[in-house]
Amino acid sequence: MVIQGISAFFGTAGFAILFYLPKKYLIHAGATGSLGWVIYLLVLQPNNDKVLANFAATLFVALTAHILARVYKTPVTMFLIPGVIPLVPGAGMYHIVQSIIDNSVEKTSYYFYQTLQMAGSIALGIFIMDTVFRIAKRSKNKKNPF
């Protein structure tokens, strides 16, 4: 798991450079992606539920991205996009293609369904964190929220 976490750091940071992330944020983005992947593995091991693991990891990544963005006064995207990358179901996409080539309808529909669910869990994770931070911001702006 340690090796996978370290690999995730380099994978995420390398990806971030491809999208021209400013140099000063590379380490933050890499660490976000790496910790997100470790959480994915930690949740995956006892439950063996990829969708749940992806959801938990996305929640963590989105939370970290929002906090970092507020600390450094920069758009959330800077940390959210690189951090989410290891969780994007590239593996699912590959398995779909492979099962199409193998001519297996059951495997194709299984992987298609799983990939959609994983993409959905990412969407849900980002949705929830965005909403939480927007509510927090709104109640801060109003003097008396209730």
Binding site: I3, Q4, I6, S7, A8, F9, F10, G11, T12, A13, G14, F15, A16, I17, L18, F19, Y20, L21, P22, K23, W37, K73, T74, P75, T77, M78, L80, I81, P82, V84, I85, P86, V88, G90, A91, M93, Y94, I96, V97, Q98, I100, I101, A119, I122, A123, I126, F127, D130, T131
Partner: protein, 258 residues
């Protein structure tokens, strides 16, 4: 206050942000904030993934309005960051409009990573992603070769193939073919890990994230546009990988006949 210059600055800021792959609500928000420093009666900004319309009007001045078509988009987080910083400075009054305009114009010439750094980053990320999915050292080496292939194809494909779709498909075709070839070597290569790790740098991360955030914001127009963009990129990747594996299988079958 020079409203024409203010409007020009806001338009330029929005244009750069939209071209660099910022979320639509960020483009609108940034332009709104800059234009609102004029304290005029009405400020309207309408942005989509492919164009921006804005107008600034008040009984005291002649209405200023403009349209910007966003045709070529290239994801660039540092430009979003820089424009965001400049817009903050304008709104806090820490920067004059003239300076801001000049800095915005120079953002496009400002390259933070050289071609070589980008090439190294591609290889590092393919190695990293292969390791992330539990690859061995042998898997990572093949993934590194695939990273180099991505770099080479993206250098030359600018002139060869017109669209990004075909470029992605070509890269993935080569990746899948090399990964399949590597299984013929005696080093126990896990082709799944090599292929998945190598396609990860091409995966549409920015369109997916932006599609989600734009949709949540209520920008359904941009949300669907981004979702379709993500789908088309995924389709290109899938097609390339499929063709690569398919060709290898066909060659294998034909060679076994002889």
């Amino acid at each position: 206050m020079n409203y024409k210059l203010l409007f020009k600055t806001a338009m330029l800021a929005g244009e750069i942000m939209a071209q660099s792959g910022a979320e639509t609500f960020r483009v609108e928000d940034t332009m709104n904030r800059i234009l609102s420093t004029s304290h005029l009666q009405s400020v309207e900004v309408y942005a989509t993934t492919t164009g921006i319309v804005a107008s600034l009007s008040d009984p005291l001045i002649e209405t200023i309005s403009g349209v910007a078509r966003i045709s070529n988009r290239a994801n660039n987080l540092s430009r979003i960051h820089d424009v965001n910083q400049i817009s903050r400075n304008i709104c806090d009054g820490r920067m004059t409009l003239e300076d801001a305009n000049e800095q915005l114009l120079s953002i496009r010439d400002h390259k933070i990573y050289s071609k070589r750094t980008l090439a190294i980053a591609t290889v590092v990320s393919t190695i990293g992603f292969a390791g992330l999915f539990g690859g061995t050292i042998a898997d990572c080496i093949i993934a590194a070769i695939n990273g180099l292939i991505i770099v080479l194809i993206s250098r030359f494909s600018v002139n060869l193939v017109g669209s990004a779709f075909m470029g992605d498909a070509a890269k993935c075709f080569a990746i899948a073919f090399v990964a399949m070839l590597s299984t013929l070597t005696p080093f126990q290569i896990n082709k799944d890990i090599v292929i998945i790790g190598s396609i990860m740098p091409l995966v549409p991360g920015i369109p997916i994230t932006n599609a989600i955030r734009d949709t949540l914001q209520g920008d359904y127009n941009s949300g669907t546009a981004r979702a379709v963009e993500a789908f088309v990129i995924s389709l290109g990747i899938a097609m390339g990988v499929g063709a690569g594996i398919g060709l290898f299988n066909i060659i294998g079958r034909m060679s076994s006949l002889w």
